[in-house]
Symmetry: C2
């Protein structure tokens, strides 16, 4: 059983909320009342570390869940802001916990979802161990390419992708240009296509 299936079963209990582009859903440190499913649009999750540096934790798209930590912590450990117009659905802590009490399959589905995130984080961390900007981009593309012709839609802006890859946006632009010039990739309306090596 998948989280989505299971969420569907308690769908009625979710409270929908609309966000305008740029609107903040919650801030780091806000009391956590539950977790959210992204129904449409994109949200940017951001953490600021003790020294004041800003780190993009991730970009959540339709279907993703955010703030799972709400179940285990009284406050949010990162902030979430709508990048585009967005709709989210809130699932209250108490209700979810009750569901877990009652339905072990739901628990398992939730664990699997959490573990999926762990895997995702591991891959992202692994990527940061790659020195070369080009190889890092390639790693990202191969890990995320989908569809008939290997294409990746950029999560939000190129700047965000740069942050995700741990590069400055300038370095990423340059790398992307170089890779386009060398025929490794092609950019088509907001997507990056991975071209097969000859």
């Amino acid at each position: 059983m998948d989280v989505k299936d299971w969420l569907a079963t308690i769908q009625g209990t979710g409270i929908a909320r609309k966000l305008a582009a740029g609107q903040m859903l919650y801030d780091q440190g806000d009391p956590a009342i539950g977790l959210y499913e992204v129904v449409s649009g994109k949200l940017r999750q951001v953490r600021v570390d003790p020294e004041g540096r800003v780190v993009v934790v991730g970009i959540a798209c339709a279907g993703d869940m955010i703030a799972e930590g709400a179940l285990f912590s009284p406050i949010h450990d990162c902030a979430a802001t709508a990048v585009t117009k967005a709709v989210v659905r809130l699932y209250r802590k108490a209700r979810l916990l009750a569901e877990f009490e009652r339905n072990p399959d739901a628990s398992l589905a939730f664990m699997a979802m959490l573990f999926g995130q762990i895997l995702n984080l591991r891959v992202r961390l692994e990527r940061r161990s790659i020195q070369s900007a080009r190889d890092r981009v390639l790693h990202y593309l191969t890990a995320n390419a989908g569809g008939k012709e290997q294409a990746v839609a950029l999560p939000s802006t190129v700047k965000d992708l740069a942050a995700e890859l741990g590069l400055t946006h300038e370095a990423l632009y340059r790398t992307l240009s170089a890779m386009t010039a060398s025929g490794e990739i092609a950019r088509r309306n907001g997507k990056i296509c991975l071209l097969a090596p000859l």
Copy 2:
């Protein structure tokens, strides 16, 4: 309820196994039969990515759990090798799943543990967004310092720490030397002490 408490309740079901230093517990791709608790010693978890690069996923010490993914995947996604002489306890998949069916608190404890890992990974990822080697080291130290005088025991070798921080070992040695010289840190028998700024 904490995972440890709960594990303690089913302790009897764990199967202990001894490892010599350097011995591999399981390899990436091996069938996963369950997850392990590290009873003593240290294990290094390593992943090799499709291009053949080696990435240290983490160093597990006594009390840590490894291979949680076993519950959700038929094979191991990384390899685990004993760094020192070590003892691990195996908890079989089926038994854990049965426990989850029966005891929702166990499920919750397990989820909390998984979430703890997510948080840990997030912090590590965040650290990689820091440019300067010095600041990265500082971030690591402040995040991990414990005890009366802020000290961090290096997980295994300095080389491993370098990998964890995403630096070459040379760069780390130099940074550590510079920081020692400037009085920011002190090194005492395998520990790094964070010295308060004047």
